[in-house]
Subunit: 357 residues, 4 copies
Amino acid sequence: MATNKLQVGILGATGMVGQRLASLLDHHPWFDLRWLGASDRSAGKRYAEACNWRLREPMPAAARELMVNDCVPNGNAPQLLFASLDSKVAGEVEGAFARAGHAVVSNSSYYRMEADVPLVIPEVNPGHLALVRAQRRERGWSGMIVTNPNCTTVGLAMSLAPLDRAFGLAKVMMTSMQAVSGAGYPGVPTLDILGNVIPYIGGEEEKVEAETQKLLGSLDADSAHDGHVEPGDFRVSAHCNRVMVEDGHTETVSVAFKSKASRDQVLAAWRDFEAPSEVRTLPSAPGRPIVIREEKDRPQPKFDVNAEHGMAAVVGRLRPCPVLDYKYVVLSHNTIRGAAGAALLNAELMKAEGYLD
Amino acid sequence: MATNKLQVGILGATGMVGQRLASLLDHHPWFDLRWLGASDRSAGKRYAEACNWRLREPMPAAARELMVNDCVPNGNAPQLLFASLDSKVAGEVEGAFARAGHAVVSNSSYYRMEADVPLVIPEVNPGHLALVRAQRRERGWSGMIVTNPNCTTVGLAMSLAPLDRAFGLAKVMMTSMQAVSGAGYPGVPTLDILGNVIPYIGGEEEKVEAETQKLLGSLDADSAHDGHVEPGDFRVSAHCNRVMVEDGHTETVSVAFKSKASRDQVLAAWRDFEAPSEVRTLPSAPGRPIVIREEKDRPQPKFDVNAEHGMAAVVGRLRPCPVLDYKYVVLSHNTIRGAAGAALLNAELMKAEGYLD
Amino acid sequence: MATNKLQVGILGATGMVGQRLASLLDHHPWFDLRWLGASDRSAGKRYAEACNWRLREPMPAAARELMVNDCVPNGNAPQLLFASLDSKVAGEVEGAFARAGHAVVSNSSYYRMEADVPLVIPEVNPGHLALVRAQRRERGWSGMIVTNPNCTTVGLAMSLAPLDRAFGLAKVMMTSMQAVSGAGYPGVPTLDILGNVIPYIGGEEEKVEAETQKLLGSLDADSAHDGHVEPGDFRVSAHCNRVMVEDGHTETVSVAFKSKASRDQVLAAWRDFEAPSEVRTLPSAPGRPIVIREEKDRPQPKFDVNAEHGMAAVVGRLRPCPVLDYKYVVLSHNTIRGAAGAALLNAELMKAEGYLD
Amino acid sequence: MATNKLQVGILGATGMVGQRLASLLDHHPWFDLRWLGASDRSAGKRYAEACNWRLREPMPAAARELMVNDCVPNGNAPQLLFASLDSKVAGEVEGAFARAGHAVVSNSSYYRMEADVPLVIPEVNPGHLALVRAQRRERGWSGMIVTNPNCTTVGLAMSLAPLDRAFGLAKVMMTSMQAVSGAGYPGVPTLDILGNVIPYIGGEEEKVEAETQKLLGSLDADSAHDGHVEPGDFRVSAHCNRVMVEDGHTETVSVAFKSKASRDQVLAAWRDFEAPSEVRTLPSAPGRPIVIREEKDRPQPKFDVNAEHGMAAVVGRLRPCPVLDYKYVVLSHNTIRGAAGAALLNAELMKAEGYLD
């Protein structure tokens, strides 16, 4: 029955994001998970043995029996590979698979800021996929690498995209309160976070600042041919913190616009925001990319993290900011919208747009 | 042996801040806790019976046996009263005691922003105490009310004061991650905060924005006589959040200055900051009002909340801000520096300056 | 479309268990929620306004618009009422409704240990419903009261029932680690439980000890007519503790049997345990009342609390006990299997057995 | 000034227990910390660099500058060494140092149950130290190994000791709710324990059961010469669980005695319990080894873990047990009384008794 589906694999299948990918791929209408790769320690074992499964929902039955392979391109992996590798090895492994002809849809930070590598949120900048042509040409790859943003960037960028289009972003100030699952497993030791806040996450602030500008940057025919995105003409400052939450990054945001906007216009920009029609119909696309909560104390991770199956950016508390123009709160699911779901939606877009033919 | 000490009382003695006051007053060199006031429910009982003691350190032996009184000025209370009442009743009760001749050192928000009521951090604006003269004259009170800031304002204002003096503040953006003890007892239900963030605390943002401007405002002889502070000429924007921490508000801050400053100059402004000499020698004054942590991931509530016996503002992570000039993290103990310890230090200053004679 | 369903109501609709009932009754195949009762404070408001909804899943659309009534029997409530009232008022309110002809399916402790009131777990002692006849006769009620056990008793009793049948229980020792949702809302203050264990829950140990004996007691024709259950001939000792878990009571259990049993026989007794056929087909009956986890470190609330939609008792770690015969761990969902789901299953059994005709 | 103090070292200085040892040894009246040993990764660095310090109190200034050595006996280490090594390496390393003439005071489980190795709680069984003579003779060691019990055993054994003496223990049933610090650092991943209970700790139950019998066993002149303790003539069953607490193991206990005891007699046995006079005067001995809390809901880790500087067993809730004779709750600090403080007190006893001469 899975005969018409595209076979896919996961590089880094035993980590937290790999587990989410395995879970989201279960009974996927287009993709059939047939191949798993992980570190030496896991290779050669069944997934059920190799993986310390940490999701609340059980490991998919089909995945349990798959053998775990080494992460080397030796011809037995499918063309389409999701990659959720540690960034220390992602550069080498993902490059090797792309060179060997695989389409690598990566959640790692390694290639995200390379000029010729698409960094894509399908609802926001689907056209950036076109960078792939320059990438393949320049690097001589028969495959390709396409990336999704950092888990902290994605909710911010989704909430900013309609505002940038409508009013022109000038300045963005963001403070995150990030869930522990963002650090993987074993990740954050309990002794570090129980009853505590850690006001530092290595490299995170720089990623949020740079990725947001690339995601909301422009790519015309010329720059696509040259292989680089013109970054968004606005400034971003990020403060990143770890708090004792399992899933869901909460972010306070202040923004200044280039042109004046009323509160109702900002709300309308969010409310009317929708993905291009080719994205809206993808299997993993959220019904509403932006969900607006009207209550005075929402969004909250406990109640809102799974909005739209964890694929929405949930916003609330829009109000004037005495320093910039407006302030609000945005929440998104860091291992779904911020990682596994983001990669999956990217792959769906790539398939719909013919990049996997 | 306590004969030379000034007798003092607590209005609102059974709440979280009242408990902290009772604890800090134990064996105080200048003050002798002799009188407790609380709601009808507690009046007529011994403190040990009336109070659901929630501090880790035991209830002071002397306080255990004190009888709890109604909060009405009937002549049996000492001249100096600390007030940690719910803001719903603070207006009436504190006013009644001030009218009846008591010096009320209040932690409540009710009178803080009244033009003729001093809002004081001794290390920052001890001279604002002078407003008391206009207050007594205008209101015809034989007593007085002196207030300390909200628990979220205090760490922010202490970290800003030396920067304002040195470089002139222009803009301040702050996001707080606040401890549950700030909401009193029973306070935050576990079901609301376990594994969650609540991105809203009623009235808190407005307090932080207004109080910071009053604290860093100016009071010359004329305005002291008129009975109002000229608010600081800068803008403040606050985002307030509750997180699962017991004690210690952590705040991310971005600031813009009126004049240029290097990173070393900012650090030097903090390092060199000290209270006026009449404040430094007060019994509850911290050795260093501002403690600088050099580590990349500090301050943290777990490790730093009790710096200088909970009376310091602990700063760290100073770095350039792409939107304003600099960004940093500040932490302070919300029920000590942000409430009971703040009131106690104010009372010590009042005594040292002759306001209680 | 709901015309063939039985109309039902909830007494105590705004509390945590009332909310769970409203959620479980949404789209129920047999019951149609049409009436809500709560305290004076809520009466006269729409449920959406009156209720501080604390479940992760949204309030059912149909329930939102229902008006909340006073909890007095004035003829406008349906015959079948679920009751999740505070035990302080449950005695009077439930009695009044039963007297007025309502079938009250109660989660309160008030009537549970009354001799003529059925205390029922449908998979364990469905026949105890027969006590209702004596109850109505003796009390002259046209209605009736049927109860389910305490949230801590239910998982224990379900895990013990097959062992009692197979080997005869002699002694039971249980220590619970109970979730905060068991204390309702606002319930446990964060300041009491953050990073803490509270080794005491008022009245809980006595309930577990007495209820387990009644649930596993016997009711023959004579005792049914007399209106009392012969309590189980075994001893129970309970230690009850509160821990920082949202949902799911975890219990360590040691048991001694009257006749010898091998480990395999105990496992088989659990594995083969099933409800009588009339119970198995009820809409809310779990597929397996007892779920056995084979892993060395399960069950755990995080992973197992929702087994069988929260209606199972999940057991694991069966091993010999050096003091009694065997020891194991059992987990059940305290607000579903231990409260709302338990009442719902009781009502389904009552309907299937003709008690509501 | 430290010239008269005995120089000491720590094997495994960078772990959680090693850090506690370094902290407790700061300004110790008898011992002077001069030597640190740890794994290859740390050797050759200053302690301040090698150690990820996780205690709330700062690293002692004297320890900061000590160089970390390899854990091999090459003549530069002091005679007296505290050992808090991972049990995987403890066997080899501790044995090598004992053979080389060092007195190794170990917190590891490796040698605890060896017949000729003293397992000692000074207040309970100081005489068991005498096993050292047989140990040295049999093994041909010029040094020795003395051990303290597992962190879960110690509070239980201290609370049982006076009851065993007074009434004779017959049966003991214990369920623990253990703090995360017991698992070391990084130890328990947040994703495993946030809002969860883990009802399993590898090897822990077996340790508690065996160690309690050895600690409360008897050693007469003959058995001392033979080199073995006659284990206590009672049965112990342990259920061990991990909960989200930082420090402090809470345990529910049921006991049966050989002779009858009233509740008052049990309380009196605890109240009157004191260490032998040679132990009471040791620098780290608690004023009261057993602290009785009278409140209905104590002891609790939050309030009681630091009783007697973390060296007490705090008991409460004594009441009849329907299955055995009595039940109660006991709490002790797992890294002080259960590890570092236990080793330190053992070393003080060894010194006082002349074992280090």
